[in-house]
């Protein structure tokens, strides 16, 4: 079920464009902001509001890397796996995160605290390796730094 607030935000987005379906990505992001991910049920509701076939919206949703179609933990770690970060020691950082959290890419810790996902170049290549936790960017990563960063996200 979408909340009244979500529906209101979606309607506001719709008003910006000549066709309703142009608000599809914004709408999915609104739902994801509130519910952490986009379930089939939520997606169907959004499709109804935007007057789009469900399969078409599903097609859009699955196309983007940052629309989650599976539940994620309370915090999402996006580790940059692009070239400059790879050169600057990404594999060590990934190995450390895998061991420390006991999860690989695409998995969520048992306590539902973290989901680990790869992401493409974060545009912070001169301070590689870099990662995002939720909306926050961290760079010049070392294994020691990771310990401090993760502390902040409970």
């Amino acid at each position: 079920m979408l909340s009244k607030e979500e529906i209101k935000l979606i309607e506001k987005e719709m008003a910006k464009f000549p066709v309703k379906s142009a608000a599809s990505i914004e709408s999915l992001k609104i739902v994801q902001d509130k519910q952490r991910w986009v379930s089939d049920k939520a997606l169907a509701e959004v499709a109804r509001i935007l007057e789009m076939p469900v399969t078409e919206l599903e097609n859009v949703a699955s196309f983007y890397n940052l629309i989650y179609r599976k539940p994620v933990g309370r915090h999402v770690i996006h580790l940059c796996e692009s070239i400059s970060c790879w050169v600057m020691g990404l594999e060590d950082i990934l190995g450390y995160l895998n061991k420390k959290l006991g999860i690989s890419y695409g998995e969520t810790t048992e306590d539902d605290r973290f989901t680990l996902l790869p992401i493409q170049c974060l545009g912070d290549c001169d301070k590689a390796p870099a990662m995002m936790v939720d909306n926050d960017l961290y760079n010049n990563l070392t294994t020691e730094k990771i310990d401090d960063i993760l502390q902040k996200y409970q």
């Binding site: 990505i25 914004e26 992001k29 940052l66 050169v87 600057m88």
Partner: protein, 426 residues
Amino acid sequence: METPLTKNIIKGKTIDLKIYEKSGGYQGLRKAMSKNPEDITSIVKESGLKGRGGAGFNTGQKWSFVPMGKDAPKEKYLIANADEMEPGTFKDRLLLEGDPHQLIEGMIIASYAIQASNAFIFMRWTYQNSADQIRKAIAEAHEAGYLGRNILNTGFDLDIHLHVSAGRYICGEETALLNALEGKRAIPRSKPPFPQVSGLFGKPTIVNNVETLCNLPHIIDKGKEWYKSLSITDEGGTKLYGVSGRVKKPGCWELPLGTTMREIIEEHAGGMLDGYKFRGALPGGASTDFLIEEHMDTVMDYSSAMKAGSRLGTGTLVILDDKTCPVGFVHNLEKFFAHESCGWCTPCRDGLPWVEKVLNAIENGEGVEKDMKILEFHTSYLSPGHTYCALAPGAMEPLQSALKYFREDFMKHINEKRCPWRNNYA
């Protein structure tokens, strides 16, 4: 040395409207609005400004294809491409976070030149701070009368909308970007028609890179001759160059267009880290051909980079050092391209994953000599003209140049059945 694009930028801070105006901000716009739209296009064309998004097309010339005059469609659009997902590229973010009004002013000038009354900034999701700064700047510009109805009492109306994407490299390709803005899967469109004639919602549309647009206020304010004199070569203006990898001072600097690769790496980036040697560089992001030691004195402008067998691309160099495996390096790039292919054309959809698999096998010591032939085959199978967009040919640029310059390293993997670097690494 003048640095118009970054002169106001202080790391970690954002220039607000007051400071921007004090340093001459919005003067270019005032001058622009006292001229005919067509004259703006001519000035920009003659200034020599080339698109900073990678392709390097003359900006004024691109605008000149937009229908103008009484019979032109009423709705037209200007779009700032702030997707910046090319691996190894980190220049537009500096401009977005540091001096957002410069982009806004550039967008108003460009919109006025093509007579668009709505403009969009297409921004990637990960640039959260950029999005916040841009939102603030748009609100300030509205308040000050630079946006909205009847701008500076000229009768010209313009609104700028921020669209934050949901992450997919192909969205940066200008026709895929249009589909993304329309809420569709971001698949490129076949051309013609070109966006300048039929773009967003079927209306004439110009897509320009952030850095391109940031040049406009200065060109209009100080004139095309001044602008041309900024560069070392005849291509005009300054360029944001960057360096990442194992150098002493990685970073991004505004330098005269045509600065040599040697000066960028050795002076501005401080040279290689102690204990590391330079082996090669991608001069402008993941989809450019390697340049090597013998190209060190290449002038980094569009035509010279091309002559050296590569492209200027985004102007941000990624360095390959002697302790990093070239096969692993290229494998990382191809994994990215394979993942980001939109799947529309068969050669790209099937070819890139194959290339990725072969590179992975070679890197893991499971490669055979025939694999080199397979890689070579793909560099022509995915070359320009075989696909709808430039993603696939771009993906082949680092590969084809690596096969040329680092062939022995590939062969060593195959012959020794292991990665010679990875053992040191582990």
